[in-house]
Point group: C2
Chain length 450, copies 2
């Protein structure tokens, strides 16, 4: 294949992924996103997207705060940050030097369900980049001095977090909703008391237990083909030894028996409110119906119901939005807003009113159509860079959704009916069970339970 | 041209832009980034980058805080935000509805030197998107209710800003360095007193004076060609009437006669420090030498001199970095760091020590090579999305740097010599003239003037 054809073939393979109709001829020509599983269990996904001589890589490892043992809140965050601060073959400083010398970037961070190491390099530096990435996952050394530095930095982040009313409300909300024993009940960065107590041995143990090829999805996207990538990945990652044991445990949590209002009194000009309930897991069959429900309520920008009511009609807020954080477990389905202290009570009552309406009144067809168009039209813009596409595919694989998810997405949204919306609203949103977290000048807020 | 050829031609036109060697054949085939000037002065730049059926647009208008009259700090920010909140043909709500109904996005924000309106849409919705964009620039109506809402929101941002030590140090630093009469001496969001006094008439006047086709650069990038774009842009923007008067005035500012330490005493666990001097304008011939100087000092990540000294060798900081904000006028060249209160004095002394060294000791060849590789290798990663490329080209045009800047950049960096570094360090960094802004527990910080 000459260079022109190779470019074109790669381009079409990208097009085949996209969530809009392409003609049949193009579909036949297009090699799909390719997936291989190494013998040690590592899943390799390659997405050719030529045009620029760059490769973006993401390694998603099942080592987020979800799998932290009790008493070790923050260990996932601390471990992930330390991956880049020294390995068997390079000190932290040497790793920085190696990647910065070619203008690339390598970053590591834990999230709730997974840890992610991301790499950007010119194609010519791919082997170097993947070697650094593999070292960071396979042979981090966790030097004491680096550990103390990263611990201090996480503690400083936590201290700043406590100053910020939006984060305070969020932390209060999830702590109330999930309780302290559930990993979704605290921020990924952990808690001060537990962060202070983590020892180097704990981190070595966490890494040994949670980081392994059979917990890792590696996506390479950009100026790359499976033919080029597979031998390099096999060579660099092939000897990594699998970990044993279940990838995660479901925490045993009590069912919420009633709603609760939690307030934190601070002399602030504005009140921050987060309210909601436990939502659903990412692989729940109702996921797409709840996605549409969320877009209707507050997830489609300035034309969602919360915006039209609280912002446009009543002028209570600058913005009010809702979000669904579906993960391995049922993450929160929540509404977030800021308002003047005096308006907090009214704002909460209006949100509850909108929730009631979703449970009782079928959604008008034209509103449903508008929201579906928003979701379907917006997806390509969410996948408009190679880095975003790599991240999307890693998560599609991680949650078992299929690598053709983007193509199927419009269909999954299209079939949602007004009856589905009523059903999932009744399932997930019940004013009696709402947890409401409020940070602000509470006396001025005249809050009353809805 | 059939579809395959069209795709390929577009792809090559993108490649021609890139800052690395391509073979001569590809260069000959590649149509360059194309540029047209409408009769009313609007500059249209089209960058075909096919692959996804998306277009990214940015309209850069010379209406940043740079051109605010005295007493009107914040008017650029307020005006930009109101562009999307109502035009002659649609209310703010209708504008949101129109763009959200197709899943696109339209945003407006003022920066220091310019205001930027950015658009993302599927190709099929390009006409709609450009119409909304053009309306927002040409016929905003600035309704009173929207004005009050955006004013309240900017005031709330300002109130939050004052809580955040990093922003406080930054604001104190630029206020001291430039004084209140200079637009670079305050944040773009303005000041509380002046924001409160802005009237609707002021905003209408600012818009009439500053927004015009002859102050506007419109870049369209993605699934688009000049042949398609030009007639639409001509139709939609062609009747926009130019503004008169000079695009900006150089503020008359005094030369700093000496350095100054400004402190703000707050009981915080960490001290935030910003120190530096006035730098250079973007079109200064020394720009590339100063770029290398900045990378050496603190602009190349964890392997710059500040990181190696303050972070690795002394453990004083988690990170310390330097930056150069070159604009129409000479923006600040500054160092930013956070440290324990007790270490603030030592950290500042070490920064000053590094500055002295840059003024006296020629940079070793291998260090210079490493830093140049960082800058040259990093540029493609800075331009790795269609949106970033559009923004880069808009700014290259705005500052008169040439649309082939990315191609010339490696050469401009390569020619910088150790003597150039000494010269620009002596020109721009003088310990006697440093402005040092400190926010933290000052008594504990044991600060002494360097």
């Amino acid at each position: 294949m000459d260079r022109r054809s190779a470019l074109l073939a790669g381009l079409l393979s990208t097009i085949a992924l996209l969530p809009w109709p392409v003609n049949a001829a193009a579909k036949v020509q297009a090699p799909p996103v390719e997936r291989r599983v190494l013998e040690n269990g590592l899943v390799l996904i390659v997405v050719p997207r030529p045009g620029l001589p760059l490769v973006k890589a993401i390694a998603l490892v099942g080592a987020g705060s979800l799998v932290e043992d009790s008493g070790q809140a923050g260990i996932a965050a601390l471990t992930a940050r330390l991956l880049l601060r020294g390995t068997a073959s390079r000190s932290g400083e040497q790793m920085s030097q190696a990647i910065e010398a070619v203008g690339g970037s390598l970053e590591a961070e834990a999230e709730r369900d997974a840890a992610a190491v991301t790499l950007s390099v010119l194609t010519k530096d791919l082997r170097l980049g993947l070697t650094l990435l593999a070292d960071s996952l396979q042979s981090p050394t966790f030097p004491e001095a680096e550990l103390e530095r990263e611990r201090r930095n996480l503690l400083a982040s936590l201290a700043q977090r406590v100053e910020e009313p939006g984060f305070q409300a969020q932390d209060l909300f999830v702590a109330t909703l999930y309780g302290p024993a559930h990993p979704y009940g605290r921020p990924v960065v952990g808690t001060e008391a537990e962060l202070r107590q983590l020892r180097r041995e704990d981190i070595i143990g966490f890494h040994r237990q949670q980081y392994g090829p059979n917990r890792t999805i590696l996506v390479l996207a950009g100026d790359i083909s499976l033919a080029t990538a597979e031998p390099i990945v096999q060579e660099i990652f092939g000897n990594w030894v699998p970990v044993i044991g279940p990838p995660w445990h479901s925490p045993s949590v009590s069912v919420m028996s009633r709603g609760e209002v939690r307030t934190l009194d601070r002399k602030l000009a504005q009140t921050s409110v987060i309210l909601g309930q436990r939502g659903i897991a990412r692989n729940d069959p109702d996921y797409y119906a709840v996605t549409v429900l969320n877009a209707l309520l507050g997830g489609s920008g300035l034309t969602s119901r919360l915006s039209l009511n609280l912002r446009e009609a009543r002028g209570l807020v600058y913005s009010a939005s809702s979000s669904l954080a579906a993960g391995r477990l049922a993450g929160p389905f929540q509404v977030s807003l800021q308002t003047k202290n005096e308006s907090a009570g009214e704002a909460v009552r209006e949100v509850v009113q909108e929730i009631r309406r979703l449970r009782t009144d079928p959604v008008p067809e034209d509103e449903l159509r508008r929201v579906k168009n928003f979701l379907t039209g917006n997806l390509p813009l969410q996948l408009d860079t190679t880095g975003k596409l790599a991240s999307f595919l890693a998560r599609a694989e991680y949650y078992g959704l299929g690598l053709d998810l983007a193509t199927r997405y419009p269909g999954l949204i299209a079939v949602v009916t007004p009856e589905d919306i009523l059903r999932v609203a009744q399932r997930l949103l019940d004013p009696q069970f709402l947890v409401i977290a409020v940070v602000g000048d509470v006396a001025a807020g005249r809050l009353t339970l809805p």
